[in-house]
Amino acid sequence: MLTGFFGGALIGLAATVYWLATGRTAGVSGIVDGALREREVRGQRLAFLAGLVAVGLLAAVVGSPAGASPYPTAVLVVAGVLVGFGTRLGGGCTSGHGVCGISRFSIASIVATLTFIAAGAVTVAIATRLFAAAAGS
């Protein structure tokens, strides 16, 4: 739990650096969207994403690679489309609404965060019964 809080603090620091550098809130889904579709900010958005990928690579090199999802690939593809579509429709993901929005006491972000946690919980409750193997947590 302590490593969770410390890791979270690093994320808060990252959001602060991002804000000081760009004047924007650090929402990862919005950053990916900007990298894909907004030519004028593409470089800085890609730099942020490169930082994420580089750390993942470094973690794998020092021996703590990211864990794999317990779901089959076909399910992950469906999930990926839903996450991409839903975050852009709802204007944010765990970082944009969950961290940045809540830090700024945005009502929209609080509602969005409660909604995606509730939807995720219902989904996991159903999915763990459908994919018995996926319940290993």
Binding site: G8, W19, S69, L76, L89, S95, A108, V111, V124
Partner: protein, 143 residues
Amino acid sequence: MSRKTIGTLVAGALFGAGLVVSGMTDPRNVIGFLDFSGHWNPRLVAVMAGAVVVYAGMLRLLGPIVRGIRPLPARNNRVDARLVAGAAVFGVGWGLSGYCPGPAIVSLGSGAHSALAFVAAMIVGILAAGAFSGRRRSGCETP
């Protein structure tokens, strides 16, 4: 590289380090958090708390100093069907994978095959939402 680009690169590396240190790049920690009926894993709450405490504190501390140079966009307090529907669709995908955008992209660097499939599909979803809405909306940037 411009100063902005260096700043966002540093921010991305810090963000990724936070996700790795906190264990959020392991989808099982996320699924465990969402599994209220099973062995509930409260780790994500600690991560959110740490992030919110630091970011909210920094905004309050540094906001008045850098006001004028670095104001944040207006806060979004509008709750509409689009916000709730989008968040619900995201939540279903989150529960079906254990990935949200940040951890999935970090996992890409670790070479996790599940992340590769997920991120490719996520890009399709983002582009589909752009085509669906027909107009650019910088929502995630301005919660």
